[in-house]
């Protein structure tokens, strides 16, 4: 099983990279973009078949290391 973890800055925390990319898109005349948020994706290959157990493990990984929950949110997808 794989876990795909998306980590991004919380809503309300200014995303400077997203803002810079938004400006760059504007200057390329992609004017239909309202907002850009940049995060990171962490893909974990797990040797676990129990989805519930995997979700619990990865949640713990996010809380302890993969995300800094002071400024970041995370989403976990199991595939």
């Amino acid at each position: 099983m794989k876990a795909i973890v998306n980590v991004s800055l919380k809503a309300g925390v200014l995303d400077s990279q997203g803002k810079a990319v938004h400006h760059a898109l504007d200057s390329l005349h992609f004017n239909g973009v309202e907002d850009v948020r940049i995060g990171k994706q962490i893909v974990l290959k797990l040797n676990e078949n129990d989805k519930e157990k995997a979700m619990a493990d990865v949640t713990k990984m996010c809380e302890e290391l993969l995300a800094n929950t002071v400024i970041e949110d995370y989403e976990i997808e199991l595939v």
């Binding site: 800055l9 925390v13 200014l14 400077s16 290391l65 800094n68 002071v70 400024i71």
Partner: protein, 223 residues
């Protein structure tokens, strides 16, 4: 007076820090991160600057799990004094020993220059040799120095006098190089035994190098 200085893979300010404290008459020891203890005669523990673990994942995120960090947490709980400079500040926030977090600089550049700072609270051992409102000139050198804390956390910092230093111009007017909330450059914990700041006082020890304002800061810790 014994200063123990932590060294992770990627730390690069440990020898400057050692030189700075020895020039003030302290004994120093560099502690490799794999050590599970810190010397029992430690009067001050410094988490030095650099790029621990290459800043992978987030600055300071991996260092917080180094073997030595359990001893650091225990030392902190006993009231031991800890100073985190630059990457050391990032490590201490990641470890939950200091409030808030350090984000990428607002304009995304690595900033390396002297910057003025205003002393906000001298009611602590670190800044006791300075007066509130004093302006010091100290180098900054960071990519992730944009201090973030939520509104509730900010109110708490203010209520407890935990904001140590803010960025300013040479006259003391607020000037924010990196987007930090309220231009915060350094904070301490509520108990005032753990200190963290992005600027490098250990690089401001001699006039010939541009400033000796770091002397009065580091002297605060000396017995």
């Amino acid at each position: 007076m014994k200063v123990s200085i932590l060294q992770f893979p990627g730390t690069n300010c440990e020898y400057d820090t050692q030189h700075a404290f020895e020039s003030l008459g302290a004994h120093t020891e560099i502690i490799w991160h794999k050590s599970e203890t810190i010397p029992s005669d430690t009067d001050l523990l410094v988490v030095a600057g650099g790029f621990s673990y290459g800043d992978y994942l987030r600055s300071g995120a991996i260092a917080k799990f180094s073997p030595v960090m359990k001893a650091v947490s225990a030392y902190a709980k006993e009231g031991g004094k800890i100073l985190g400079i630059c990457n050391g500040f990032q490590v201490l926030t990641e470890a939950g020993l200091l409030p808030g977090a350090l984000k990428r600089n607002e304009h995304l550049h690595f900033i390396s220059k002297h910057h003025h700072l205003r002393v906000q609270s001298n009611e602590n051992i670190f800044l006791q040799k300075l007066n509130n409102g004093d302006i010091v000139n100290i180098p900054i050198a960071h990519h992730d120095g944009n201090y973030y804390i939520d509104d509730a956390g900010l109110s708490e910092l203010k209520a407890n006098g935990q904001i140590l230093l803010t960025y300013c111009d040479e006259r003391g007017n607020e000037k924010n190089p990196n987007g930090s909330v309220e231009s915060i450059a350094g904070v301490c914990n509520k108990e005032k035994n753990i200190f963290g700041l992005m600027p490098h006082p250990e690089r401001a020890m001699e006039l010939i190098l541009g400033s000796d304002d770091g002397v009065k800061m580091l002297q605060g810790f000396l017995k």
